[in-house]
């Protein structure tokens, strides 16, 4: 069984990049374009990990974290924030909301994969 990841980013480039990187690492990937899209895809994706951008239309990363953590079925799924932001206040906010970890873009493929393996397991 490979690890299932729900990757959320409004940028097509980032989504494609994540799809390639994560698939190559042997993960199963479901992509979503924003927070709302991600929530809709949760039941189909059954993710072991959610990887999300912060700045997104419709529902941003904070909204997604909040909804997942306050929800029912997927409340314990590790959530990694993947963003260009590095401001401490934003990190604190994400952490308070229930993010598991934080990765800064641009990411290095190997580190991304090893970080994912550190926080999630099948």
């Amino acid at each position: 069984m490979s690890l299932r990841i729900l990757a959320v980013d409004d940028s097509l480039t980032m989504r494609e990049m994540l799809r390639q990187t994560l698939t190559e690492a042997g993960f199963q990937v479901v992509l979503a374009e924003d927070g709302l899209d991600a929530l809709e895809r949760l039941p189909g994706a059954e993710p072991d990990l959610i990887l999300t951008d912060l700045n997104m239309p419709k529902m941003d990363g904070f909204g997604l974290i909040d909804a997942v953590r306050n929800g029912d079925l997927y409340a314990r799924v590790p959530i990694l924030v993947l963003t260009t932001e590095s401001a401490a206040t934003l990190k604190d906010r994400a952490r308070t909301a229930g993010a598991t970890g934080w990765i800064t873009k641009p990411f290095d493929e190997q580190s991304l994969v090893s970080t994912i393996r550190r926080v999630a397991a099948v």
Binding site: D10, S11, L12, T13, M14, E16, M17, Q20, D34, D37, L39, E40, L42, P43, G44, N55, P57, K58, G63, D66, A67, V68, R69, N70, G71, L73, Y74, A75, R76, V77, P78, I79, T84, S86, A87, A88, T89, K91, D92, A94, R95, T96, G98, A99, T100, G101, W102, I103, T104, K105, P106, F107, D108, Q110, S111, L112, T115, R118, V119, A120
Partner: protein
């Protein structure tokens, strides 16, 4: 299936979309048409460009986008007001960002000094209002940031095996943030000899046990070569949600105090066991924004954009090619059946008819795939107007209409250059200088109106300015000076306007930075002609000039009328035909020795023998040229074409000749007919230009 997709290509395609969104948003803010999310969308556009650029290590782009984004962030936060000067600077920065992206696409860079100047100008407008708390954006592909707020002090390199004692106790609520201590312990213990002591002291009675909470603690003693930093890195994410100490037994690095601070975050969820709220496993009622709504109930599924797929344009082009073959073979099949003895059977007839209808439907569907709204093209023109008016010291605004009009993608791409030139021309030559406009009571700001519409099977695009209109005396004088017309030629106003499209004509008496690029309206005309279209011009003195481009809907298939002239099979686009008739001798009037006109119900039209105009014959024999097809040529009026016989009306596939034969006056393209023979498709506009009435006498007189 598709091969591997080049991420960089995707980035540039996406960057173009983001740039349009950026510019559109800024314009909406400028005109007060913004919606609640506009400023956010503008911010996100630049932010996403930065993110993508960072992934490809485009440093200049990242740096610029970052500073740009910082100003937008301040605007978003309400620290800055969208005043005209700031918006001007933002639009300028957005234009420059577009330049930087297109430079990156070509693997080059814009001038770093210019980059700096543009962004400094923006920052100057923004004042000190746009500062984020973080410092310069780091664009080394640094994988992991420090964990939430944790600082690693630089450690001396520790080599050799040493003894490390580490205690780790996740806070009770740490599971709620998705932390899994088992994974961390796995990483910690993976490589070395370890001794683990489990601390069960806080484990509750079985009855009070809550599986959603963490009750365990560990003391791990390792014999390891890993540095303290490496070991602590394992816990980087949980750092604020656990108690962690590390003591290493090494002479080089005595550590009496654990290097980690006490947990800093004191949010309720991470508080001590007793205060931890009941976690979700006990079915607390979900909040309004509950997770996992059924797929059909999501707000995005109803109101969001309809799903789309992206397809490589080559695939669609191949489909169009195959479709062309289908149309040809269907014509061949029809012809073969019609000539076979069994023809006449109702079933065959009906099937053929259905086949024809189906292939037309396929054609329309395929064309719909290729069709795209002209909006992105029109959007790019705002920038042209901005730059052109700035360079010309004029004030101008672009108004667009019919942006949703859909046009074949190939046509849109090839329209960009001619349209750019026309708009520059309108700003440069069409609009008066602001002072002059003041004098005559026009608003200081000139308006260029760009519109698109479908009209009788063609696409019509107009560029209209509210400037001075064409100074026909001046145009005529220049044309005479340049030897384009004879000084004695009698020219109608329309003919004078048409002189602007002659090669070598330019009214710029003063060399201007804009139009003085060695490109005249003649190039515009030939570019549009290359698309099977034509350009017209109309002007009212003092009120402005309108340039009109008329284009076929598609470049692939057209409804053609097949006819004969001088033994040749030829095709005319049906959309250009007004009527066909068999004229009486009395309707024909000679003008001089060679030219004649046809009086069609009181309207005199230039009469042209197609066979002669194309050089297939020098004179008419009896029985030839007895049928006349009246075709319209847009603004230039109708002409009457003499042909020998009309054969058929059918769809024909356009096969370009330009690549092999260059542009041939009077010939638009070629096609393959049902019997496999090749027929030329006529361009009536050009045919007239080479014919005896219109331009030829003018030019030949000048040559005398």
């Amino acid at each position: 299936m598709a091969g591997p997709v080049d991420l960089k290509d995707i980035f540039f395609v996406e960057a173009d979309e983001l740039l349009s969104a950026l510019e559109e948003g800024l314009r909406a803010i400028q005109t007060g048409a913004q919606e609640a999310d506009t400023v956010n969308a503008v911010f996100r556009a630049v932010h996403s460009i930065k993110g993508g650029a960072g992934a490809f290590d485009l440093k200049a782009l990242v740096g610029f986008a970052h500073r740009f984004e910082t100003v937008l962030d301040a605007l978003r936060a309400g620290q800055l007001q969208p005043e005209p000067a700031l918006l001007g600077a933002l639009l300028h920065a957005s234009d420059h960002l577009a330049d930087m992206i297109s430079a990156s696409r070509q693997g080059t860079n814009t001038d770093p000094e210019l980059d700096e100047r543009v962004i400094m100008a923006l920052e100057a407008q923004a004042g000190g209002g746009g500062h984020k708390e973080e410092e310069a954006f780091v664009f080394e592909p640094l994988a992991l940031d420090g964990p939430f707020g944790m600082e690693f002090s630089p450690m001396p390199l520790v080599t050799g095996r040493r003894r490390v004692t580490l205690t780790f106790r996740p806070h009770a609520g740490s599971f709620a943030s998705g932390h899994d201590p088992a994974l961390l312990m796995r990483d910690l213990c993976a490589e070395d000899e370890v001794e683990v002591d489990l601390d069960l002291s806080t484990l509750p009675e079985a009855g009070n046990f809550d599986p959603g909470q963490s009750y365990l603690g560990w003391t791990v003693t390792l014999q390891t070569e890993r540095s303290d930093k490496d070991l602590l890195a394992i816990f980087e994410f949980i750092e604020g949600s656990c108690d962690l100490t590390l003591a290493s037994d090494t002479s080089t690095e005595p550590r009496n105090n654990p290097p980690l601070p006490a947990p800093r975050i004191a949010s309720p969820a991470l508080a001590p066991v007793s205060a931890t709220p009941v976690p979700a496993a006990t079915k607390s009622p979900p909040p309004p924004a509950a997770t996992a709504p059924p797929p059909s109930a999501g707000p995005a599924s109803g109101a969001g954009p309809r799903p789309t797929i992206r397809v490589d344009i080559d695939r669609v082009d191949r489909l169009v090619d195959i479709l062309g073959e289908l149309v040809i073979h269907q014509a061949m099949l029809t012809e073969a059946i019609e000539q076979s003895p069994g023809f006449g059977s109702v079933e065959v007839d009906r099937s053929l008819d259905q086949l024809r209808q189906l292939s037309r439907q396929i054609q329309e569907s395929v064309m719909a795939i290729r069709a795209q709204p002209v909006k992105p093209l029109f959007d790019r023109m705002h920038r042209i107007v901005r730059e052109a008016s700035m360079a010309a010291g004029k004030s101008a605004r672009l108004v667009t209409e019919g942006e949703g009009t859909e046009v074949d993608k190939t046509i849109i791409e090839r329209l960009a250059d001619p349209l750019t030139h026309m708009i520059r021309n309108s700003v440069d030559h069409g609009l008066e200088k602001p002072m002059r406009r003041d004098e005559i009571g026009k608003p200081n700001e000139g308006v260029i109106k760009l519109s698109a519409a479908h009209r009788s099977g063609r696409i019509v695009i107009t560029v209209q300015d509210d400037g001075a209109g064409i100074d026909r005396d001046k145009v005529r004088m220049i044309a005479i000076e340049k030897g384009l017309v004879s000084a004695t030629a009698e020219l109608s106003p329309q003919e004078i306007d048409a002189l602007l499209f002659l090669p070598g004509f330019s009214t710029a008496t003063e060399v201007s930075a804009l139009s003085g690029r060695g490109v005249g309206m003649d190039v515009v005309r030939s570019e549009i002609a290359g698309l099977g279209g034509r350009v017209g011009i109309a002007s009212v003195r003092g009120q402005g000039t309108t340039l009109t481009i008329s284009l076929p809907l598609t470049l692939a298939v057209l409804d053609g009328m097949v006819f004969e002239a001088a033994g040749q099979t030829l095709v005319l686009p049906v959309s250009t035909i007004i009527e066909t008739l068999r004229p009486e001798a009395s309707m024909r009037h000679n003008l001089g020795q060679t030219d004649s006109v046809l009086d069609v119900r009181g309207r005199c039209l230039p009469l042209i023998d197609v066979g002669m105009a194309l050089g297939f014959r020098r004179s008419l024999k009896p029985g030839e040229g007895e049928i006349v097809v009246v075709v319209e040529r847009g603004d230039e009026g109708a002409i009457a074409l003499m042909v020998d016989g009309i054969r058929d009306q059918r769809q024909v596939v356009i096969k370009g000749l330009e690549a092999n034969y260059g542009q041939i006056p009077g010939i638009a393209a070629a096609t393959v007919l049902g019997d496999g023979s090749v027929a030329l498709i006529l361009d009536p506009t050009d045919l007239a230009a080479t014919g005896p009435i219109q331009a030829r006498p003018v030019v030949s007189l000048a040559a005398e």
